[in-house]
C-alpha cells in the first residue's frame, strides 16, 4: 500500500511546479497551462484524502468533480480572454499586456 504522504508530496510538487510556471512563464497560455497543473494538484490532494480518510463517503469525489467543472469554466473563459487580448493587442505575452503600469 502506498502511504498517503507520497500522494500529498506529489501533489505539493505539482502545485509548486504550477506556481513556478504561473510566475515565470512569459506566454499567457503557458500561464494557463501552469494553472491547470495547480488545479490538478488540488484535485489530486482531494482524491487522495478521499481514498485514505473517507472512502465510504462520496463527498471527496464530489468536491473533485465540482473542481473539474470549475476548471473547465476557467479554461474556457481564460482562453476566450486570451484570444480577445490577442485580437486587440496582437500579443499573448503577459509582460506586454501592461497598461496598468505607472
Amino acid at each position: 500500500m502506498v502511504p498517503l504522504s507520497w500522494y500529498l508530496v506529489l501533489a505539493a510538487l505539482l502545485f509548486s511546479i504550477g506556481i513556478y510556471g504561473v510566475l515565470a512563464r512569459a506566454n499567457a497560455i503557458g500561464i494557463l497551462m501552469a494553472l491547470e497543473l495547480m488545479l490538478n494538484a488540488v484535485i489530486l490532494n482531494l482524491v487522495a484524502f478521499w481514498r485514505y480518510r473517507g472512502p465510504t463517503q462520496v463527498s471527496g469525489q464530489m468536491f473533485a468533480i465540482i473542481v473539474f467543472a470549475v476548471a473547465a469554466a476557467e479554461a474556457a473563459v481564460g482562453l476566450a480572454l486570451i484570444i480577445s487580448i490577442y485580437r486587440r493587442r496582437g500579443t499573448v505575452v503577459a509582460e506586454e499586456v501592461s497598461l496598468l503600469k505607472w
Binding site: 502506498v2 505539493a12 482524491v47 465510504t56 467543472a69
Partner: protein, 169 residues
C-alpha cells in the same frame, strides 16, 4: 517495496518530469503536449487511488477538451512554427525560489501532520453512489446545479468574449 509502490513511483516520476517540462520548454505546442502527458499520468494516479470515474473524467475533460483547447489557442495566437523570444520572464529565478519555498512548506506541513486514516474498504463501484448523491436534494443537488449554472455562464461568457466585434458594414 511493493509492486504498487513501484507503479506509483513510475507514474509520479512521469507526472513530475512532464509537469516540469510543461513550465520550462520553449515551444508552447510541446508544452501543451507535455501537459497532456502530465494529465494522463495524473489520471493513472487516480486509477491507483481507485477513483475510476475521476480518471475517465480526467481524460475526457482535461485531455479531450481543456488540453486540446489550449493547444488550439496556442496555434491560433502564434505564428505557428516560429519560436520567438524567450519563454520566461526576468523574474524567473525569484519565481523558482518562491516555488521551492512553497513546496518545502507544503511538503513539510502535509508530511508532519499525523493524518488519521480511515480503515481500508472496497471502493470499486462509486459511480452509482456518486450519481445518486448528485441528484439527492439533501446532499449535492445544489452544488450540482450551481456548477451547471457556472458552466453555462462560462459558456456564454467565453463565446461573447471571443466573438470578434461586429464591424459596421
Amino acid at each position: 517495496m511493493s509492486a504498487q509502490q513501484i507503479v506509483f513511483l513510475v507514474t509520479a516520476g512521469v507526472t513530475v518530469i512532464s509537469a516540469a517540462l510543461v513550465v520550462t520548454v520553449r515551444n508552447l505546442i510541446h508544452a501543451g503536449l507535455w501537459l497532456v502527458m502530465t494529465l494522463a499520468a495524473v489520471a493513472a494516479i487516480y486509477v491507483q487511488l481507485e477513483a475510476d470515474f475521476l480518471a475517465v473524467v480526467q481524460v475526457i475533460l482535461y485531455i479531450g477538451a481543456i488540453a486540446i483547447l489550449i493547444i488550439f489557442s496556442v496555434m491560433l495566437t502564434r505564428r505557428v512554427m516560429a519560436d520567438t523570444g524567450p519563454q520566461r520572464i526576468p523574474q524567473w529565478p525569484l519565481a523558482a525560489v518562491v516555488a521551492l519555498v512553497v513546496f518545502g512548506g507544503l511538503a513539510y506541513l502535509l508530511v508532519q501532520v499525523p493524518w488519521p486514516l480511515a480503515p481500508d474498504v472496497d471502493v470499486s463501484d462509486t459511480v452509482l453512489a456518486l450519481g445518486e448523491a448528485f441528484v439527492d436534494p439533501d446532499r449535492f443537488v445544489i452544488p450540482f446545479e450551481v456548477a451547471t449554472i457556472l458552466l453555462l455562464v462560462a459558456l456564454v461568457g467565453s463565446i461573447s468574449l471571443a466573438l470578434p466585434e461586429r464591424e459596421s458594414d
